[in-house]
Symmetry: C2
Subunit: 393 residues, 2 copies
């Protein structure tokens, strides 16, 4: 019995972690590595948030908060939904969690039974299926492509639903594709899932990072949904580990009980700091960053197309471009590996996001400045040309 | 399917939470409540730790750390084991987690299969069995009493072991009893569990808060154990949410993989602050607090005995006294409830710690100053006398 539990076989490590480790080794050896593999904004946390964190620390009163979170943060988030999305969410349905990871843990812990299946798109963020495996469920992945903007649709949900299905997960903006679901498609996906008697999970952690329009929240169409969000990405608070989960009313009591047990509470100073994330001054600063991300997206999108990568539609959100590199390699893992080793450009292989054409795709994160990405594109060009020379020889 | 998962039936809420909520209501109504229900030191976080946290926040660099934790914190903890316990632990086996809650989650996530049983003492900390239920296992609780210092022994382990058992959990100092396991008993418990082919889990979160001697770590007797610890209690960092898990080497790879998925990482500023917890200056400050806790323990122990509570042996650790109140009431929940309502003294009913004579016991936390506890004892005396008057009438 003194071996890892069986569920661990179904939980995959992140391939990008090995790459990241290697990138750090290369850096120690003096190589200049451009990091386009990391799903973390390169901007520091906004000053107002930091100062709120410092102020709370200096109070010395870094004690446990209630398990569900600071009441003023829960109502602050409710206000945010009212002003940004025009929806009313009872603060009692909002749970503050250690990042979106904690939100997923709580959402599936209270709702997924062993043996049940959760429907989700492939490609998607790798943790999603791993969380399902953690609770002895099974991810039922549906291969999606550019035709549906890499998103599930009501039709795909109905076609793939099984007796073992207990719900649907949609992530918009999507990691790795950056695509944003069309509001009516989201509405229909929720309706289809509810018709089938399932729970609907909406991963909205890249909300706010959308270029040209606003992403719709699942809460605009139903109150009976789980919504996962966090202060990490748009609000620039990755290392602070503070996210939130909104649950259907029928799950609120269970969520409170489970949060008490598995978290006790989320880090107190992070919660106080997050209060400052919702102020007009911080939101202005974040909007300026969003505009910068948009510029980067435009720059990288044009650059990759120019080099011969195939990209379905211009991604509308998050900070990722999911690019087809099959004209250069039939093994995107090897492609990413060699690109790092020879040119010092780190990207994420498609394998981290599923099995659907994963060997043809790589993910670029535009969490590096335009000048750095300019250098990265030059190195990519050199890499591709050298490679085609090798093939020609 | 849109109802909470079945596992939630096996996960109990903390009774003390309802009490705490009521205590806060009473306070808002103007009642002076003495809090002896909370498992949280009343001291603020030591200044050096706060300053280290502030310094890190001011750097603006609050980014994700590696999933297993900051390398310097992992090696700092390894050094701490060397200097305090004289044992060598490879930093690669040390995982930084969001509090001890995260450590339990990680430990059981990587090792417990559905349907398996984990042997543990009753009374014990309520989350322990809830974590087991979370992963579809079953807590096999063994009623313990003063005869074994409320701890499991090799004999109890062998006698209660079943085919479904996969391990033993021991908590020393124990919550709620404050008892510390005798080193040879711990050694034999580990040996018995290993003989039976099980995993051994040692909850050491109250280490450091031991009065008169040092608690032995399971690592002094075997390297093949899980050790759960945290910066919350002895180090005074509850709200910071930073703990650690030490795993047997065979589980290190699985723990890394699972930590990536369920945490991404522990709060960065909390980890930097924790580095300062291990410095000689902070440790001196903590030792002074330990001496204060010892004084409080002596004061409260004598006071409760004087009032007629029955307490087996003088508890040697943590900051709890588990007292038999059966001379005053045959329902300790009602006793705690009435004591709060009429006298404004909040304590925790035995029901929160299991079923073994739970209606006879209450837990007092000496996380209040001696003057406050003096008042609490006067109120208790009044409460008990009034009560016996009522009975006499």
């Amino acid at each position: 019995m003194r071996v890892p539990a069986k569920r661990m076989e179904g939980i995959s490590p992140f391939y990008v972690m090995a790459l990241l480790k290697r990138a750090k080794q290369l850096e120690r050896q003096g190589m200049d590595v451009i990091h386009m593999e990391i799903g973390e904004p390169d901007f520091p946390t906004p000053r107002g948030i930091i100062e709120a964190g410092v102020e709370h620390l200096r109070s010395g009163n870094v004690k446990y908060t209630p398990a569900a979170g600071l009441p003023q943060l829960r109502s602050g988030i409710a206000d945010f939904y009212r002003s940004r999305y025009g929806v009313f969410v009872a603060p009692e349905r909002i749970f503050i969690t250690p990042g979106a990871s904690g939100a997923f843990l709580l959402a599936l812990g209270v709702s997924l039974n062993p043996g049940q299946q959760l429907l989700m798109a492939d490609p998607c963020y790798p943790c999603n299926s791993n969380f399902v495996n953690l609770f002895e469920g099974r991810a039922l992945t549906v291969a999606v492509n550019a035709a549906s903007g890499y998103q599930l649709t009501a039709k795909l949900i109905r076609r793939n639903w099984t007796d073992a299905c207990m719900g649907t997960l949609i992530a918009s903006p999507s990691n790795p594709t950056g695509t944003v679901i069309v509001p009516t498609v989201l509405e229909q996906a929720i309706a289809a899932t509810e018709d089938l008697g399932g729970c609907f999970y909406s991963d909205e952690i890249y909300h706010g990072l959308v270029y040209g329009k606003q992403a719709a929240s699942a809460l605009q169409f139903s109150q009976d949904v789980f919504v996962i969000n966090s202060f990490s990405k748009y609000f620039g608070m990755t290392g602070w580990r503070v996210g939130w989960l909104i649950v259907p009313e029928a799950f609120a009591e269970a969520a409170e009980k489970l949060a008490q047990n598995i978290f006790i509470a989320t880090a107190t100073h992070s919660q106080y700091a997050a209060l400052a994330a919702l102020t007009p001054a911080t939101l202005d600063e974040l909007e300026a960053r969003r505009r910068e991300f948009k510029k980067r997206r435009d720059f990288l999108y044009a650059g990759l197309l120019g080099l011969g990568f195939k990209i379905a539609d211009k991604p509308e959100g998050a900070f990722y471009i999911y690019a087809d590199c099959s004209d250069f390699s039939d093994d995107s893992f090897q492609f990413a590996h060699d690109l790092l080793e020879t040119e010092g450009v780190a990207i994420t292989p498609g394998l981290d996001f599923g099995r659907n054409q994963a060997r043809h795709f790589v993910r670029f994160a535009y969490t590096a400045s335009i000048p750095r990405m300019e250098t990265a594109l030059r190195r990519l060009q050199h890499f591709i040309n050298k490679d085609s020379n090798t093939i020609a020889r």
